[in-house]
């Protein structure tokens, strides 16, 4: 922590705020005196005790966590969560100051768009010498393949963001521009939701400008842009996927803008158009809200080995067959050296003075700047002129003299200070403000608010170290009464899009596996629970008749090692206990409970936009088991079972019965059927002699014991037990139930041939369903003979293999994604001459 960061006692909030030297204090005009626009906030907060404020803080953190904003993209899923965590205290700005920011941003965005239109078009600016040619010739942000493209949406820059800071003198300055895929809008909206709920009363009593109208206008305008070309446009939000630190906001924005969240793999290019790969086939797409870096957007044209983009997207853009927002190549405006040219370009292109100043930047290209930088090297921050990602050479001065145009330098930034809540009170931190604008037919408009990014050390503010940064909600006070608007949490955008029932193959794949992992987790928990339940007394293992069965199952699930040739079977619980512990917690063991729960989380993350917030909350809870300590493993297992049941319940209640649900449910059914056939085989078929003693635990593990007891109130008998587990279609845990559900699912999957039972999946399901319905168990009532054993074993094994076959067919038919292989003609070798 910065030594100047100061602890503030909450009770005397006003008096205790101490601002660091060399920083504008956002809160106080002078010690003990709050600025006007802070007064209410400070007074209100001052009424609360430390304990109360901590409660608010925790509530806010919990809301954000449960909304899924807190998935940690950097570490393992089980690690604690830190990315852009929310500080509950907003950063308020008065209307007078906001007006300057707003006008400045509109002006700047307009200028930057003009520059983009020129460099990707006539390049008059370099021909006339208004901008040095190096900025195009030696700049990785300038993409040659994008030159000459007229954007389909008619705008070279639609969505723009900038980082501002308030300098020591109280003026706002622009630190950085974002053009390719500005990040943070989703986080800003999420922060607003959480903060407005946390301080609900205060928020609603004060004229804080709402963010929702901006989003609505953005959404409408996006459609309008695409409508220029199409009557009934389909728009997608293109994300790099869950590995991206910004994935949360991609999912969030896709919901708000009501456009499917897709990854590069979901899209394909044909006939000069771009299509979404869905289960029933290809759907043409007219608009792409791109959240991919420029360099990743088209691996084909940009010759990058990335699987994230869409091969051919630049060609599509050239043909104007899809509106890509922002157009690929707009990352050009992020070039550090460009900022140093803007004051002159404002004059030249707009004939205006710059409203918002730049952060002082010198591009060594000009002799004056070069000399200044070399003379002040120790006081300046040097950076590559064209890209922030390139490393600096060790001997900076001689490198700069060698190629001055390759370097730029900036003054040290002294951002303003803001209070941030820590457990013991407020401390002082530094802030930059990310603000957003979009272009409509009427020009650029600016979102009245934004994301304040704060960090204890200035250096952490300037890099992409999201894990060392926190964020705040920016509140813009209005001088007019607010128009009545909906809260963001109530947002239900009336769709202007087709709302098809189809879904991308990739999503279906993840949903299927989500279903399978959920079921697998549940079965695993039940198995281990059954073992633990028998271990409570000081029994010798040999005294418990069903132990061999349980050990068999544990081995079949790779939870305990296979018995070596001369190895003796476990005789005491204490020998078994370490293995069971591993089965619960061991991360490296792929079949441990924790690993399977991680798989559940991963699958869920991949389809986050398809699941309700409530469902995601349950999934998030599943990730916390490894962090919590349980004295009794049974308590842990029951807790997990409870969460899994909550998930199932929510899925039953809240998921629409579309294709997504069918795939998830199919996953569950397939997994459950396979596990059930395993349980039955190991328990009552593999060893006929011990079968009888295993009936109770078999019912327990297949969670049918309550039903059995209520129905038969008798001892455990083969015929009724197997009837309940295999044939009884009213038992949701029975094999017949799984088969009939699966038959229904496959019947409803999209297919080319309308004839019933024309697909292999349907045939397999029909076969299974028929054979289970025809299974006759009456002879079992006379006794469990060898013949019965053979007949049932055949039946069970045939079902197991058919289930596996079904899973394979569904995969081939609907989910298989062919990998794409780039090939470049190797240079034809010249003959020796």
């Amino acid at each position: 922590m910065n030594p100047s960061a100061t602890q503030i006692a909450p009770t005397s909030l006003l008096n205790s705020i101490i601002c660091p030297q060399n920083a504008y204090c956002e809160t106080l005009e002078k010690p003990g005196m709050a600025r006007d626009h802070w007064l209410q906030l400070v007074t209100t907060l001052g009424r609360f005790s430390l304990e109360e404020l901590n409660q608010y803080h925790e509530r806010a953190a919990r809301m954000r966590y449960e909304d899924g904003a807190a998935f940690n993209p950097f570490k393992d899923l089980s690690e604690p969560v830190t990315s852009w965590t929310l500080d509950m205290l907003p950063l308020p700005l008065p209307v007078s100051e906001w007006n300057i920011i707003e006008r400045g941003l509109i002006q700047r965005a307009g200028l930057l768009e003009k520059i983009l239109a020129d460099v990707y078009g006539p390049q008059e600016l370099i021909k006339s010498g208004k901008i040095p040619a190096e900025i195009i010739y030696n700049n990785p942000n300038f993409l040659i393949p994008c030159h000459g493209i007229q954007p389909a949406a008619k705008r070279f820059l639609t969505f723009y963001a900038a980082d501002l800071y308030r300098d020591v003198d109280g003026c706002f300055r622009v630190l950085r521009d974002y053009g390719a895929n500005p990040a943070g809008l989703g986080y800003a909206l999420e922060n607003r939701m959480v903060v407005s709920r946390t301080f609900s009363e205060f928020y609603h009593e004060n004229p804080v400008r709402r963010l929702w109208p901006f989003l609505q206008a953005f959404h409408q305008d996006f459609i309008q842009k695409v409508l220029l070309n199409h009557d009934d446009p389909d728009i997608v939000l293109l994300s790099p996927g869950p590995a991206s630190p910004m994935y949360f906001e991609h999912a969030l924005l896709s919901r708000y803008l009501n456009c499917p969240l897709v990854e590069g793999e979901d899209l394909t290019v044909r006939d000069g158009e771009v299509f979404l790969k869905e289960l029933s086939g290809l759907k043409p797409i007219q608009g792409i809200f791109r959240h991919l870096a420029d360099s990743q957007s088209d691996p084909f044209a940009l010759r990058k080995s990335t699987s994230k983009g869409v091969a051919g997207l630049i060609q599509i853009s050239r043909e104007q067959n899809a509106a890509v927002i922002n157009p690929i190549g707009s990352g050009f405006i992020e070039t550090p050296a460009l900022a140093s040219l803007l004051p002159v370009l404002h004059q030249h292109l707009l004939n205006e003075k710059m409203i918002l100043e730049n952060h002082p930047t010198w591009w060594c290209k000009s002799m004056d700047s070069l000399n200044f930088v070399l003379n002040n090297l120790s006081r300046l921050t040097v950076m590559p002129a064209m890209s922030r990602s390139v490393k600096l050479p060790s001997d900076l001065a001689s490198a700069i003299r060698e190629a001055p145009h390759a370097f730029a330098a900036q003054k040290t930034v002294f951002p303003s200070s803001v209070p941030v809540w820590g457990k013991q009170g407020f401390r002082s931190s530094y802030a930059v403000m990310r603000v957003f604008a979009f272009a409509s037919a009427q020009g650029f408009s600016v979102m009245p608010g934004g994301l304040a990014i704060v960090a204890d050390e200035i250096s952490h503010l300037l890099g992409n170290s999201f894990d060392k940064q926190q964020s705040k909600d920016i509140w813009v006070y209005s001088d007019k009464p607010l128009e009545h608007t909906h809260e963001i949490k109530d947002v239900r955008i009336v769709s202007n899009f087709k709302r098809g029932s189809d879904l991308p193959s990739r999503v279906a794949d993840h949903l299927l596996w989500l279903g399978r992992y959920l079921e697998r987790a549940e079965a695993r928990v039940r198995l281990i629970r059954s073992v633990f339940q028998r271990m409570t007394g000081e029994h010798h293992l040999k005294d418990i008749p069903e132990i061999p069965y349980l050990l068999d199952m544990l081995r079949a699930q790779h939870i305990i090692p296979k018995l070596g040739e001369n190895e003796e079977e476990f005789s005491h619980f204490r020998e078994l206990a370490p293995h069971l512990n591993q089965a619960l917690y061991h991360q490296e063991q792929t079949e441990s409970i924790i690993s399977i729960l991680n798989q559940v989380q991963r699958s869920a993350r991949n389809v986050r936009d398809r699941l309700s917030f409530e469902t995601l909350r349950v999934i998030n809870r599943l990730g916390t088991f490894s962090e919590r300590s349980f004295r009794d493993p049974l308590e842990l297992l029951d807790d997990i079972l409870f969460a899994l049941s909550a998930f199932s319940g929510l899925a039953m209640e809240s998921m629409t019965r579309g294709l997504g649900w069918r795939f998830m449910d199919s996953g569950r059914r397939i997994e459950r059927a396979i596990l059930l056939t395993d349980l039955i085989y190991m328990g009552v078929l593999k060893n006929k002699e011990t079968a009888h003693s295993n009936l109770e635990v078999l019912l327990e593990m297949s969670s049918s014991i309550m039903t059995y007891r209520s129905r038969y109130k008798a001892t455990f008998q083969f015929a009724p037990v197997l009837d309940l587990l295999l044939i009884d279609e009213s038992n949701p845990k029975s094999l017949a139930f799984q088969c009939s559900q699966l038959a229904d699912h496959v019947e409803h999957l999209p297919k080319k041939n309308e004839l019933r039972f024309s697909s292999p999946e349907e045939k397999i399901c029909l076969e299974m369903l028929t054979s289970v319905r025809l299974l006759d168990l009456t002879s079992l009532k006379q006794g469990y003979s060898v013949i019965e054993n053979i007949r049932l074993t055949d039946f069970i094994q045939s079902i197991t293999s058919k289930m596996k076959m079904l899973a394979k067919e569904i995969n081939i038919h609907y989910l298989t994604r062919v990998p794409s292989v780039p090939h470049y003609s190797s240079f034809p070798r010249d003959r020796e001459t």
């Binding site: 030159h147 290019v269 060609q315 990998p819 292989v821 090939h823 003609s825």
Partner: protein, 297 residues
């Protein structure tokens, strides 16, 4: 001289390829030194989508897509080109290289501004202290620019050995300098890197070279190959093409297809394919002089 050029590229896939997307730089461009009479393109299977355009550097390029399953993809470009005997520039009369570097930096004239873009490193060229030291031997202070470039070309020809097994398409120029081995593409990239390391403008030229059969033997069809060399910007003279693989200034037998900052800008055939498993590639180039008909054009 009139040439008929056939350039065939065939991919064979071990498994069915479902979609293939390609970009071509196979049609020779018009230059001061050559006229293009006709260029045609044949692709099998027939692509569902084809577009032709002139790229950022003025080259002719096509993109095409084959969108149904295929085992084989064959691309044949045929061109008839008339090349002229270039005027040999007076080597000693060209300005000292430092003054050229200085003029490029100022780029007062449009052609100098255009040439200036070829001063900077590009994906397959590099500027290192080793490369710069190598270049400086050919460019002592005050050396006339073209004399220096001829000297550099000669040194590369003499000191580097032609070895097809030494490099691949992606071998960095630093490696080429280290091993002093490579093919025409490597020599061109290395020469370009040398010239750019001193601030001169050099571009990569992709094309063909007519080769003579061994004495007394008939010329074999398809035995030719694509070729590559570099061009140097000389104020007052324009772009001068030099071929380090053969230690010559390009002549009537050099046919230019396209130019760019380096190979990546003008890769003759570049593609991405879905499925297809592993693939084998065969390239046949045939450059035949059409001496009888030359008067017709």
């Amino acid at each position: 001289m009139n040439y008929q050029i056939n350039h065939q590229t065939i991919y064979n896939y071990s498994e069915l390829a479902s979609i293939s997307q390609n970009e071509l730089f196979l049609f020779p461009r018009e230059t001061e030194k050559q006229k293009v009479i006709q260029s045609t393109l044949n692709i099998f299977p027939k692509p569902q989508y084809t577009r032709q355009r002139v790229d950022y550097f003025g080259n002719i390029t096509q993109v095409f897509m084959v969108q149904h399953p295929h085992n084989e993809l064959s691309i044949t470009a045929s061109s008839r080109v008339m090349t002229l005997v270039p005027e040999t520039p007076v080597i000693a009369g060209t300005p000292p290289w430092e003054s050229v570097v200085q003029r490029l930096g100022v780029h007062e004239h449009p052609e100098e501004l255009d040439a200036y873009q070829y001063v900077f490193i590009s994906p397959q060229t590099a500027i290192t202290s080793q490369i710069k030291s190598y270049a400086q031997l050919s460019f002592p202070p005050g050396m006339s620019i073209l004399a220096g470039a001829v000297n550099l070309t000669n040194r590369i020809f003499t000191e580097f050995s032609y070895d097809e097994s030494a490099t691949t398409v992606d071998t960095p120029v630093e490696q080429v300098l280290l091993n002093k081995k490579g093919v025409c593409q490597d020599f061109a990239h290395f020469a370009i890197s040398c010239l750019r390391s001193l601030g001169m403008a050099a571009r990569y030229v992709s094309g063909y070279l007519e080769t003579a059969p061994p004495p007394g033997k008939p010329k074999m069809v398809g035995a030719d190959a694509s070729h590559a060399w570099f061009a140097l910007f000389v104020p007052g003279t324009g772009w001068v093409d030099l071929d380090p693989t053969n230690n010559i200034m390009t002549g009537e037998q050099h046919i230019t297809v396209a130019w760019g900052r380096d190979y990546t800008d003008v890769t003759p055939v570049k593609g991405v394919v879905m499925g297809g498993g592993s693939h084998s590639l065969s390239v046949k180039v045939d450059v035949s002089a059409d001496r009888q008909c030359s008067l017709e054009f």
